[in-house]
């Protein structure tokens, strides 16, 4: 019975990836996506602003992330500490995150608290600065620095920031860590950060999605009402950074010492931004190399041998570029050996093309992750926003899926040769303190 299931190609209900959001652009430029879901009594709100760490200038590194914190500290009509208090009192919850490209705010609240949720969210979009004091900023500076310290205190907690500094050159907008530098964060005040907020936090730079138990017409009316007095400042939002095809990237080789007991090696290559024609092939390559038991690097380093104790591949795609990473850790295998095994497996891709079965498994893993996100109102709202930001259409998944089904084994060979070029490899060794066994020639990486 199992063999029948294994041999049968996965057949999908044709409507699984179809979404039905309505899209409205308010007069102030805010894009609003609404989709009803009556299985729960909850409304999920997701609001993404097109501002992230890449938009920061020297002296303000960490400002985008700081505002992720300050947005909860109160605004003109919401006194300090009342944002969370009022939402919590209504049975709601919220959080936020910052990346190189965006800052996103998400809430869930009972459908009977929709006006409250929209009041709070619209007030901090339109009227934040009059609610922000030097005391708020001073406190959140400490919280942010402690956030950084707690992350860095854990084993391998510095790896991502160190790798980022090697992958992207100093003049690239992704070079600095999202959390910022200690020196810049320590210098933030209410006055010197206000210009950053004014330049980026505005209706036309936001996409708002609501998914949940409501009537779309009534919810749209509420959204229109609550955002009617949120002004759109004059002038366009200027964003930093643009992807350029054909850049000849340079290799890099660095190391950090950390409170770790195992050595780790990260190999990375610069790829393409979100929406690029080669993005699906690189995503599928990630799965084929390291998608669990029975995939190439996972078996070679972990399941079939004891070369590594952990291994992963990850294609991180952002708006101004992407990076393909393969990493492995071991207490005893030398990093040079791990590095060779990884690059050998990558080299086999163009020689021994992935089979149909490998491609199908990789595709199905990606499709399953989308479907799981569509099931829950909160992650569905986030996915609608991501679709709209990357394609201009919130219902992009059917077309996106076609991009993945169109990929062939030859495409995988092509992108492997084009992007995972050994001449441009970025290597990061992570070793225990005092351990000299990092890759030959590696230079120390300093985290600001």
């Amino acid at each position: 019975m199992l063999w029948l299931a294994l041999s049968a190609l996965a057949a999908h209900p044709s409507t699984e990836l179809v979404t039905h959001p309505t899209l409205t652009t308010l007069p102030n430029g805010l894009v609003v996506l609404l989709e009803e879901n009556h299985r729960t009594d909850t409304v999920a709100l997701h609001l993404t602003y097109g501002v992230g760490a890449r938009d920061e200038q020297p002296g303000e590194l960490g400002c985008a992330h700081l505002f992720e914190h300050l947005m909860f500290e109160g605004s003109e009509h919401v006194p300090t500490n009342k944002f969370d208090e009022w939402l919590t009192l209504a049975g709601g919850d919220n959080n936020a995150y910052t990346s190189e490209d965006v800052t996103a705010y998400h809430m869930t609240f009972p459908s009977g608290a929709a006006d409250l949720g929209l009041f709070l969210e619209s007030d901090r979009m339109g009227f934040l600065l009059s609610g922000i004091t030097d005391e708020n900023v001073a406190n959140q500076r400490k919280v942010v620095l402690q956030e950084r310290a707690e992350g860095y205190a854990e084993p391998n907690g510095r790896d991502w920031d160190a790798l980022t500094r090697l992958v992207w050159p100093e003049d690239h907008p992704y070079h600095h860590p999202v959390i910022g530098t200690v020196a810049d964060v320590e210098g933030f005040t209410a006055a010197n950060t206000a210009a950053f907020w004014k330049a980026h936090y505005r209706p036309s730079n936001g996409v708002l999605a609501l998914v949940g138990n409501f009537d779309s017409a009534s919810m749209l009316a509420k959204v229109q009402a609550w955002y009617a007095d949120v002004p759109e400042p004059e002038g366009a939002v200027g964003r930093v950074g643009k992807f350029e095809e054909g850049v000849k990237w340079l290799p890099a080789n660095g190391y950090i010492e950390d409170d770790v007991e195992e050595r780790s090696i990260y190999l990375a290559w610069r790829t393409v931004p979100v929406g690029h024609p080669d993005e699906p092939a690189l995503d599928l390559l990630e799965q084929i190399l390291s998608g669990g038991r029975g995939t190439r690097i996972d078996d070679r380093l972990y399941y079939d041998t004891t070369k590594a104790t952990s291994v992963f591949a990850y294609h991180a795609v952002s708006e101004v570029g992407g990076v393909f990473i393969v990493a492995a850790s071991s207490p005893d295998t030398l990093l040079d050996r791990l590095s060779k095994l990884i690059t050998q497996e990558i080299g086999y891709i163009p020689q021994g093309l992935p089979t149909d079965a490998e491609l199908e498994r990789a595709r199905e893993s990606i499709r399953a992750s989308w479907l799981d996100r569509l099931e829950d109102p909160a992650s569905r709202a986030e996915l609608l926003v991501e679709c709209h930001r990357s394609t201009g259409r919130p219902d992009c998944l059917v077309d996106e899926w076609k991009r993945y089904t169109d990929v062939t084994a030859d495409d995988l060979a092509r992108v492997t040769k084009k992007y995972l070029d050994l001449e441009t490899t970025v290597s990061l060794s992570v070793v225990p303190r005092g351990d000299p066994l990092f890759l030959l020639g590696a230079k120390p990486v300093e985290l600001p």
């Binding site: 199992l2 729960t40 009509h77 009972p110 205190a153 854990e154 084993p155 099931e375 219902d395």
Partner: protein, 485 residues
């Protein structure tokens, strides 16, 4: 106000299309009333169905049909755990729970992993003190395959020698190397072992030496004996009817399992005195602080006030600990508390990480917050927020297969019913501050013995703890991680 807002708007939603700002011109922007927070309507608890219970051989099936959910959640429970099998957890039983689901009689590990990925089936297994579990979620059109997988891993897991060796290596590395190098992992493990006495069945310590002795043949024999002697429960939650389900289950599970009752949890002896475990991790800048005290068990009339107490102590971002230690003092990125209630024991746990210079101050602040709850309970607003949060969680039960299955699994684990759970949620609405204060006095008054675990640089911590007058048992991270103290 809401009616006025509705009347003031004139924009229509449109199907997805390219934005056309010109098509949506406002008559005149009118500002909403921002003079205060808008009124909130509700909440009203939704009706959730009780599970239907059916018997197929030794298998007791708990079935809930939820329309519109893409995936079906399946939880197969073997109602015998390590305590019933050999009296306490062992490395062999740990391996049995971890490795179950690697193969079947017909499929090797790669084939099974591929099948699960291609069919979008998630599978997880574990073996705990009184129960073994195999969780699976699958799209409803792949239910039959998921049931095949569940039945076949239970009856046909081969425990290949290669995988057992890898498990031994990973387990040893975890116990001896990577676990002791993480402050968070050390703090969590040390608190656990300080809470569970080594002579209690739950307190059996892990052993890298025993992990090295785990063998495939023994695991296969253990698995077969376990399956043939365990009462079985299967929870099925999803968009599938009983008429569809029954023949599928009969074909696969009618011959499995044994008659019997689910075992009960064991009580834990109360601590006689406060215990402070200091774990020395030299040159760390941060200190991981953990504290645990006993709490009401399931069914205790104080259990619901205890839930509300925890929520307001450290259960949410806005709770008192976070408001004080993060928002007011800026000592930490986040502090939290949790309340765990079992059949025979319960606990409150507080967790916070701070720079080492704030260790003493943080402990003082934590005790201060506990004393405030003992003295004054919580406010009317805090109680109202607790009720609304409980109702919101209830009303969000059917968000996806995981939330739906998780809710009904809790009902089953707690030997409860949907009606009883609904009653508990409703009871939060009528809680009084005095109810919460009573539980705070019972659990947090200063005479109640606490277990504290502090992980950081001993030289930095020692003077601050001496200033508090604390006697500290200092241990190494290696000993702390495996309970060697």
């Amino acid at each position: 106000m809401i009616v006025a807002l509705l009347l003031s708007t004139a924009f229509a939603a449109e199907p997805v299309a390219a934005p056309d700002p010109a098509a949506a011109q406002p008559a005149a922007p009118t500002g909403p009333d921002r003079s205060g927070p808008p009124a909130v309507v509700g909440p009203v608890l939704r009706d959730l169905p009780e599970p239907e219970v059916h018997q197929i051989g030794a298998l007791t099936v708990h079935h809930v049909q939820v329309e519109g959910i893409r995936k079906v959640g399946l939880v197969l429970a073997l109602q015998k755990g390590s305590v019933e099998i050999v009296g306490h957890p062992t490395e062999e039983l740990q391996a049995l729970g971890d490795l179950l689901g690697t193969t079947t009689a017909a499929l090797d590990a790669s084939e099974l992993a591929t099948l699960l990925d291609v069919q979008d089936i998630a599978l997880q297994t574990s073996l705990d003190w009184h129960q073994g579990e195999a969780w699976a979620t699958a799209p409803r059109e792949r239910l039959e395959t998921a049931l095949d997988v569940l039945a076949n891993v239970l009856t046909g897991e081969k425990f290949p020698g290669k995988d057992v060796k890898r498990w031994t290596r990973d387990r040893t590395l975890r116990l001896e190397v990577t676990g002791p190098s993480s402050q968070a992992s050390v703090a969590s493990a040390a608190l656990n072992w300080a809470w569970l006495p080594p002579d209690h069945p739950y307190g059996a310590r892990p052993s890298a030496e025993d992990a090295a002795d785990v063998r495939s043949g023994r695991l296969r024999a253990q698995r077969a004996a376990w399956l043939s002697s365990s009462p079985l429960d299967l929870l099925v939650v999803g968009d599938v009817s009983w008429s569809t389900l029954e023949p599928l289950l009969t074909a696969r599970f009618a011959e499995l399992g044994a008659a019997g009752e689910r075992p009960h949890e064991l009580p834990l002896p109360p601590s006689a005195a406060t215990r402070v475990i200091g774990v020395n991790m030299p040159e760390q800048d941060q200190v991981a602080i953990r504290m645990r005290v006993p709490a009401p068990i399931l069914g205790d009339p104080d259990a619901i006030p205890a839930w509300a107490l925890n929520r307001n102590l450290g259960g949410t971002f806005l709770s008192r600990l976070n408001g004080n230690l993060r928002e007011e003092k800026g000592y930490t990125y986040g502090s939290r508390s949790s309340y765990a209630a079992g059949e025979a024991s319960g606990s409150f746990t507080i967790s916070v990480d701070v720079p080492e210079k704030w260790l003493g101050s943080t402990i003082v602040e934590i005790e201060g917050e506990l004393q405030e709850l003992v003295d004054g309970g919580v406010s009317a607003d805090e109680l109202a927020a607790s009720w609304r949060a409980g109702a919101a969680a209830w009303n969000n039960t059917f968000a996806n297969a995981d939330t739906s299955t998780g809710f009904y699994w809790t009902v089953l684990l707690e030997r409860s019913s949907v009606a009883l759970q609904r009653g508990l949620v409703h009871s939060v609405e009528t809680l009084r501050s005095e109810d919460v204060r009573r539980v705070a006095a019972r659990c947090f008054r200063s005479e109640v013995p606490r277990v504290w675990v502090l992980v950081g640089d001993q030289t930095a911590m020692e003077p601050q703890l001496a200033a508090l007058g604390w006697q500290v048992e200092w241990v190494s991270p290696e000993a702390a991680f495996i309970g060697g103290f």
